[in-house]
Amino acid sequence: MNFGAIKAIYRNEMARFFRTLAQSFISPVISTSLYFVVFGAAIGSRIDEVEGVSYGAFIVPGLIMLSVITQAISNASFGIYFPKFIGTIYELLSAPVNFFEIVIGYVGAAATKALFIGVVILGTASLFVDLTIMHPFAMLAFLVLTCISFALLGFIIGIWAGNFEQLQLVPLLIITPLIFLGGSFYSISMLPPVWQTITLFNPVVYLISGFRWAFFGMADVPIGLSLLAIAVFTGLCLAVVWWIFKTGWRIRT
């Protein structure tokens, strides 16, 4: 293992994050506050409680997931797409590093940034609502796993993307709708029965449900199933990354 290279890539990526620290910090704070104003005040006044939890608190896990997933994907996809776009990828390809070291560097940095933003949102949310986290370690584990697995997905998207439009395509057309329809702002028990069944095909449901369980001890689907879902998802991403490594797809001509 070339640990020096992993460290170099990780630090280089984090340096980009710190260059825009104010931006990285302020935007999640503002967007979270806006969600609380819109969902908390406008809708929350009509929905008192969801299964014994105040609506304001109920949406916190979903809000965190929404930002963390989006950030993990966009950071990782941009991180690897940018060197491809400006040509600096030549340096990675001609250095004594293997693809997994490159993945660890980029995905690790993207996951760290997403985790940071998740924590900032959690902090902001606690200013608006009373929050007690029932299973803090499970919450943290879920958060970290989500950061890593979606950063992996983002990395794959960044390798695949041939232009900036494609880079935005998957997050915009697939990921964001899945998160919004994945019970971020509602419990799936509030849906008509047919939609409850359809929703179960949305993988994000399992993540948000599991994450919410860590907060409040309540879940739309059993916690074991949530864990299985994230494990399968991470495994799939790793398999694709391994395949890219084997074939040099879209990296090495």
Partner: protein, 311 residues
């Protein structure tokens, strides 16, 4: 053992384009090889295949005895690459982007070395500037600094002086000379014949994915030392007169031109003697002209011969 050993390297791109068609090339340690060739000849593909940017379709490439595909880590540790395009992250600072390159090779931080490299390349004053604020020539210096940051034993310079000013070109040659003294093997591709003449030990010519010639620069220079005197006669002749047989003459197909090849480095060129002999033989000279063979002529000649052969 050759430092860079290329045997029957082939590269066919997905579209079916054959960029390398069986390249054989051995480069000795400490040698400076200039690779000349027209655009699209395969120069960059060859370098990319050695450095790991592109995967050769067939053949074997070894650097320092390490196969560049199977034993890529050991091979790449020895290699520094200065690419043709200015590929740099615009928002990074000069010193940190150079330090990043060293880190990628798994080497510990070495501020003294980075300072030494930056000073040598006149970049030290600019070390805290962002790359995007630099001029084109300065950016190219940054690329060179990045390539030198991990102390390579083999340095590839892919058209390092394309579009740079005289000062940088002179600095470059100076750096190449210093690296040569340290025993670094250097392969540079170039369009500029005079660059090859100035710094290379050997010159290789590549066209359409094949090496046409690899020759010691000095022996090439000797060939280049040949000059031709063309004598235009007033009236055509059918044969070269017997009295002129001492001279290395060729008669043009029109019978009106005689070409005399001579060595400028020789003590006597024989021109005066030839002129006297011509007038003794009763031939009236209408005009004379001379032409010198240059590396460029040899190069153009090789490339066009090949094109004719292909047709």
């Amino acid at each position: 053992m050759a430092m860079v050993d290329i045997r029957d390297a082939r590269k066919t791109y997905d579209g079916g384009f054959e960029a390398l068609r069986g390249v054989d090339l051995q480069i000795q340690e400490g040698e400076i090889l200039a690779l000349l060739g027209p655009n699209g000849a395969g120069k960059t593909t060859l370098i990319s295949a050695i450095c790991g940017i592109t995967q050769p379709t067939a053949g074997q490439i070894e650097v320092g005895g390490h196969d560049v595909v199977r034993d890529y880590r050991e091979a790449r540790k020895l290699i520094g690459l200065v690419p043709q395009e200015i590929n740099l992250e615009p928002f990074e600072k000069v010193a940190s982007t150079v330090a990043f390159s060293r880190g990628l090779f798994g080497l510990p931080k070495n501020d003294a070395l980075i300072e030494q490299i930056l000073r040598k390349l006149s970049l030290w004053e600019k070390r805290n500037d962002r790359v995007m604020a630099l001029s084109g020539g300065m950016k190219r210096r940054v690329l060179i600094a990045k390539a030198l940051s991990h102390e390579p034993r083999v340095l590839f310079l892919d058209e390092p002086t394309a579009g740079v000013d005289v000062e940088l070109r002179r600095d470059m040659w100076q750096i190449v000379e210093e690296l040569r003294q340290d025993g670094v093997t250097i392969i540079l591709t170039t369009h500029y014949i005079e660059e090859a003449e100035a710094i290379a030990d050997r010159v290789g010519v590549i066209n359409k994915g094949q090496i046409l010639l690899v020759e010691d620069k000095d022996s090439l220079m000797t060939r280049m030392g040949k000059k031709e005197l063309t004598v235009e006669l007033d009236a055509p002749i059918s044969d070269i007169p017997q009295s002129l047989s001492d001279f290395d003459l060729t008669l043009g197909s029109d019978g009106k031109t005689l070409v005399y090849a001579y060595d400028t480095a020789a003590e006597r060129t024989g021109i005066a003697r030839l002129m006297a002999a011509l007038s003794e033989a009763g031939l009236v000279v209408r005009d004379v002209s001379t032409a010198q063979n240059s590396l460029e002529d040899i190069f153009v000649g090789l490339v066009s011969d090949e094109q004719e052969a292909a047709q």
